[in-house]
């Protein structure tokens, strides 16, 4: 991994800006749910912030991503606008999906965020199709499929990686291995030690990186993205991370090892990156300014969402088909 491209100071600051936004946004969602102001199932991405923040540094708005129900971090990292995010979480007409998709179906095609699926594994076949379109179009776009370690054990993973490897599609398969598929540990559900080993079976490079290390994640992602843009085919990245808040909000986490969890939280990647920036000479004021701007943007989005209208029931007949149902 010593040959990986390294993020410069500006890129590291930008990764931190995104990671802090995701962290603060997550904390706000949880506070709002606990206060009863927000009613939604919620799959917290807390602990996994660095992966999409570092990867998105090498993406443009033209590039596609497909992600899963635990995907607000992937979306925010790629630039999902906060007002449309909060409008959607709150089920308001101002939501990106007009309140018809919700937390598990965030979509914002204007910036390449094509699908959020609630079905484990289903981000992969569709991201593969977007990669096929990108290959046909020939303009150097790439397509990223985000998924968890649980999805690596469903058939869609196998079919998608084989097809992408066979057709040399510009796809990046990013497994955010948080060591749990729902309540079952990675070791109890997976026959290999490292998911990246499976890449060999699909004729593509596979790499395991510390997804919580911004430099390693940035480098691995940039290599894979550049390879895809150059027409050299797909890459499987296994990004090791940890899920701080269990599977779904309200989950009591009793199946998680307490010491393991405490250790992961003690190594929280977001404050760790903050310290790294300080050590590299970034001024405390600059970092605090980023955090303040993130907090203000979130607060404004939340207030705007609550003030917005709820959808009219006539929406039940719209967007089922292109033409409204009579």
């Amino acid at each position: 991994m010593s040959n990986y491209p390294k993020p410069d100071r500006a890129a590291l600051v930008e990764i931190y800006r995104r990671a802090d936004l995701i962290k603060q946004n997550d904390e706000k969602v949880i506070r709002e749910i606990k206060a009863g102001r927000l009613v939604t199932p919620y799959y917290s991405p807390r602990g996994q912030e660095i992966i999409p923040s570092a990867l998105s540094a090498s993406l443009t708005d033209e590039d596609y991503i497909c992600t899963i129900y635990r995907g607000t971090h992937d979306m925010l990292a790629k630039g999902f606008p906060l007002p449309e995010l909060w409008g959607e979480l709150a089920g308001r007409v101002t939501g990106s999906c007009k309140g018809k998709g919700g937390t598990m179906h965030l979509t914002y095609p204007a910036k390449g965020m094509m699908v959020t699926t609630g079905i484990v594994g289903s981000s992969l076949p569709i991201a593969t199709g977007l990669a096929w379109a990108a290959q046909l179009e020939g303009k150097g776009r790439v397509s990223v499929a985000y998924f968890g370690d649980g999805a690596a054990n469903i058939g869609a993973f196998h079919e998608s990686l084989n097809m992408a490897g066979l057709w040399k599609l510009p796809a990046i398969f990013v497994c955010q291995n948080n060591l749990y598929s729902e309540h079952t540990t990675f070791a109890d559900s997976t026959a290999v030690e490292r998911l990246s080993q499976r890449a060999a079976g699909y004729g593509m490079p596979g790499v395991t990186v510390d997804g919580n290390d911004p430099e390693a994640m940035f480098g691995a992602a940039k290599m894979a993205i550049e390879r895809a843009r150059a027409g050299e085919g797909p890459t499987l990245i296994e990004a090791l991370t940890y899920r701080f808040n269990g599977h779904v909000m309200g989950d009591a986490d009793r199946y998680m090892d307490k010491a393991e969890k405490a250790e992961a939280i003690a190594a929280d990647p977001v404050p760790r990156l903050r310290q790294r920036l300080l050590d590299a000479g970034v001024a405390e004021d600059e970092i605090a300014g980023i955090e303040r701007a993130n907090a203000e943007a979130i607060a404004a989005a939340v207030e705007a969402a609550y003030a917005a209208d709820l959808p009219d029931v006539a929406e039940l007949k719209r967007d089922v088909f292109a033409h409204e149902i009579a």
């Binding site: 018809k100 569709i126 199709g129 096929w132 379109a133 046909l136 869609a156 084989n162 097809m163």
Partner: protein, 332 residues
């Protein structure tokens, strides 16, 4: 293949669909074809519907795939989200069962779940039908499953000309369309389609006019209904045969207008009767015509068992003209 067909000679469903795909691909670069064996290297599909396409339009736009139904439909969905119009072949309708997630949870729902930001203009071609001794996993009609899902249209042509026109319309449709082709009648010639014609999705056809009873049907069963109507006509019984052509959304106006006239309805399909499309139509008819019908609405479908192998069983499994005729006589 399409180059050798004149427009006046009868054509088979295979030829009509081949013409429709070739014409659509020639007109619009965004139209793609993918599926198992669809390229000319693989003989242009298991029965030849896609023959010639990869030679004419290239293997970039006509993609022979691995046997990976989820990935085939995922590829089609993804490409459609990016602006293409893929026609994906799931060789047999029974094989949709291994890709239901892509059809039901994604193709059908992405438009709604995204609040209209995205849509999935794909066609899923699939063939089925009993008659070849293929047994329990190669010949089921599962159209009711898909008609039950909001967001996907379901069409099933009964003849080559409709096959051509419905395929052209399905490719242009902004929503996903499941396109059901009957396997045993693939080689039955019929009047040639007019090149460039479209059959509007959601519009039925009066296949035969009549005044005594309405037979509502689609796909291959249309031929059995027409044969039954012919036999009944010998006794002066005039059956009107409505070929739905589109199962979802079905043409209520056409069916209601006919039943208004005849006062009797029999719904005939090759899918098993229980929980089938016929149940939905019968319920709608009883709602619209309660107290006005001259006889109870009848439904005819395949026997409630897996498609059997042995010839006498297979023949008895599928609705036949004689059974349709007897049912009509029973309600007159």
């Amino acid at each position: 293949m399409s180059e050798t067909i004149t427009e006046t000679k009868p054509v088979t469903m295979i030829q009509a669909l081949n013409m429709a795909l070739a014409d659509a691909m020639a007109e619009d670069d965004r139209v793609l074809v993918l599926g198992e064996d669809v390229g000319d290297k693989q003989e242009g599909g298991i029965v030849g519907v896609t023959k010639g396409l990869s030679s004419q339009f290239g293997t970039g736009r006509v993609k022979a795939t691995p046997i990976s139904e989820q990935a085939i439909l995922g590829a089609a969905i993804g490409a459609s989200l990016a602006g293409y119009k893929p026609v994906a072949e799931i060789m047999l309708m029974n094989f949709t069962t291994v890709a239901m997630d892509m059809i039901v949870n994604h193709a059908a729902k992405l438009r709604f779940m995204s609040g209209g930001q995205t849509h999935v203009p794909i066609v899923i071609r699939t063939m089925t039908g009993a008659g070849f001794g293929t047994g329990g996993q190669h010949g089921d009609y599962f159209e009711a499953w898909f008609a039950h899902v909001a967001g996907i249209k379901v069409v099933a042509p009964s003849n080559p000309a409709d096959g051509y026109g419905l395929m052209r319309a399905a490719i242009e449709d902004p929503d996903p369309v499941l396109f059901i082709e009957n396997m045993p009648s693939y080689w039955t010639p019929g009047p040639a389609p007019e090149r460039g014609s479209r059959v509007e999705i959601g519009k039925a056809r009066i296949a035969r006019a009549g005044s005594d009873v309405t037979l509502v049907t689609y796909s291959r069963a249309t031929n059995d209904c027409l044969a039954a109507a012919e036999a009944l006509a010998a006794d002066g019984i005039q059956a009107e045969v409505i070929d739905l052509r589109t199962i979802a959304p079905w043409d209520r106006a056409a069916v209601f207008a006919s039943v208004e006239k005849t006062g009797r309805a029999v719904i005939v399909h090759e899918a098993v009767r229980e929980h089938g499309v016929g149940a939905e139509i019968a319920a709608e008819l009883s709602d619209a015509f309660f107290g006005k019908l001259k006889a109870p609405v009848k439904r005819i479908g395949a026997a409630f068992c897996p498609v059997p192998f042995s010839k006498p069983l297979e023949t008895a499994f599928v609705p036949q003209a004689a059974g349709i005729e007897a049912t009509v006589r029973g309600i007159l």
